[in-house]
């Protein structure tokens, strides 16, 4: 009901703006709709760009303390040394210069959903008609684990370089232990891709080491054919895959990871903790009253929160049954942008949105696989569901797919950030 009334009010203000423009007597700018976006990853950058591209009459501010986003996509290739940090560092300059997005280099600290204002670390108050939250992921804590020392590298940047340092530190015949949290987590094939590239790097460096993969899940979560083949054939004797292995604690001084089964010694390690929606989502009350809820319940027609009106959540933080990835974040951002543009035109959202997922994973230093699925809106459940016959993985990793991976990443980066 609250939402309904607000919607009416906003539509009325939209009508005022429009008639103002018609008579050309009142400055339409003063009442231009204001969209504030928090978080400059794939989701936040894309929604800011597309709202401005599709309707430049809407003011868009992107609140993000960093001058650019460091992409997790391709970041395992920074770990191996195949590409540099500059390849995965995506700046916001084009969002500002080409699309007129107002970049607010500040950290959002709280939201007042009644007054519709975002408060920032520097003390700014940013009023909004519609707020889009795209804060990515947050991590559960694991006893004994300090991710500044033992990186998760599940947010790219300094963590990526810390992971590279871990890999480079493995002695001849040494053991690298990595862990995979229970799904859903960011990038379903990502940890398995990383295991392959760790193994490939050790082989290429003739370290004769091994990679122990502790997976909290009962089986490989994504591309089972590709990764079972890689683990059992390509990297036989190097990768030791252990399903149903949940990390309970880390003994940094003793260099051991403790799981529900065993204690596993390591020379170097990469512990990826269980994940949940970015901090601001919980702080704003968007998870509702059930403490077990990890991801924001939203309506996938517009990504508006089912708990707090006029606040939309896209990307990894949303909970609609879609995989969490940069490609999907971009896909959802466009559905959200379209819904916002329609909203300010007094229209309902598209009743049958689609989101397309595709990604490429390097399996060796010269080959890659792909994974794809298309989602459609399912009115019965109010969720996004995979369309029949669209979920598939590459039959085998190839050099051609490795080349396509860079075409995919380059276009996805450009579509989101420039």
């Amino acid at each position: 009901m609250f939402s309904h009334n607000r919607r009416k009010l906003l539509q009325a203000s939209g009508a005022l703006v429009a008639t103002g423009a018609l008579s050309a007597t009142t400055p339409a700018q003063a009442a231009a709709p204001r969209v504030v976006v928090i978080g400059g990853g794939f989701a936040g950058a894309t929604v800011a760009k597309y709202v401005r591209m599709w309707n430049p009459a809407i003011q868009v501010s992107l609140v993000e303390p960093n001058p650019g986003h460091v992409s997790c996509i391709l970041s395992n290739l920074v770990m191996t040394g195949a590409v540099g940090m500059s390849t995965i560092t995506l700046r916001y300059d084009n969002l500002r210069s080409k699309y007129g997005v107002n970049i607010v280099a500040d950290r959002a600290v709280s939201i007042d959903p009644v007054s519709r204002v975002v408060l920032t670390a520097n003390g700014s108050r940013l009023p909004y008609d519609k707020l889009v939250l795209a804060p990515g992921i947050d991590f559960d804590s694991i006893p004994g684990l300090d991710s500044a020392v033992l990186p998760h590298a599940w947010q790219a940047g300094p963590q990526t370089l810390a992971l590279k340092a871990q890999l480079d530190s493995v002695p001849a015949g040494g053991t690298f232990v990595m862990s995979i949290p229970k799904a859903p987590y960011r990038c379903p094939p990502g940890p398995y891709e990383r295991a392959c590239l760790l193994a490939d790097s050790l082989l290429r460096r003739r370290r004769a080491g091994r990679v122990i993969v502790l997976d909290a899940n009962s089986d490989v979560v994504a591309e089972p054919h590709t990764f079972h083949t890689a683990f059992q054939t390509t990297y036989a004797g190097v990768i030791d895959y252990r399903p149903n292995s949940e990390v309970l604690s880390v003994d940094w001084a003793g260099k051991k990871v403790v799981t529900n089964w065993e204690s596993v010694p390591f020379d170097a390690a990469n512990i990826i903790p269980p994940q949940r929606a970015g901090k601001l989502v919980a702080a704003a009350g968007l998870l509702g009253s059930d403490p077990a809820t990890r991801w924001a319940p939203v309506n996938p027609l517009s990504y508006e929160s089912r708990v707090v009106p006029n606040v939309h959540v896209i990307g990894d933080s949303q909970g609609t049954g879609q995989p969490k990835s940069g490609h999907m974040a971009n896909a959802q951002a466009k559905v959200c942008a379209d819904a916002l543009v329609r909203y300010f035109a007094g229209e309902q959202p598209d009743p049958a949105p689609m989101t397309s997922s595709a990604c490429y994973s390097p399996i060796t230093a010269t080959t890659a696989s792909w994974l794809t699925v298309v989602f459609g809106y399912d009115a019965a459940s109010g969720l996004m569901k995979p369309v029949a016959n669209t979920l598939a993985e590459a039959p085998a990793p190839t050099a051609g797919h490795y080349k396509d991976m860079f075409g995919w990443a380059k276009n996805l980066f450009a579509d989101s950030f420039s």
Binding site: M354, V374, V387, A394, W408, N411
Partner: protein, 121 residues
């Protein structure tokens, strides 16, 4: 509520006639077509390694996607993508990209979905 919306829509429509579509509803197919842009570039202007879609003929895009959907070759990622969309959705996507022209428009005012139809059909 319904009357209210109707009146509002009427007011908006009037305003739009005079105010260069500041709050126009999106052209048909634009949101669906935007799902191709992750790989094929914003408004079909791929930057590298992928096919550009902007300004391709409606018939060519439509026929190609319908054929992919029918074949479902296991080593072709695009066949799975095509399988996600109904024939009617594919028609809208093809028409939208054809309407953009080779150089691509910003998409903010995307031309009418029927403007290019006569040329392609």
């Amino acid at each position: 509520m319904k009357t209210y919306r109707k009146t509002l829509t009427g007011a908006l429509a009037l305003a739009l006639l005079g105010a260069a579509s500041a709050y126009a509803a999106p052209p048909a197919g634009r949101l669906l077509a935007a799902q191709c842009a992750q790989c094929h570039g914003t408004n079909g202007q791929a930057v590298s390694g992928m096919e550009k879609l902007a300004g391709e003929s409606e018939r060519e895009i439509y026929n190609e996607l319908i054929e992919m959907k029918a074949k479902l070759k296991p080593d072709e990622i695009m066949h799975r993508q095509a399988a996600g969309y109904t024939d009617a959705q594919i028609r809208l996507i093809a028409r939208y990209y054809a309407s953009l022209g080779k150089t691509g428009s910003t998409g903010s005012r995307g031309s009418s979905s029927t403007s290019r139809k006569s040329r392609d059909d």
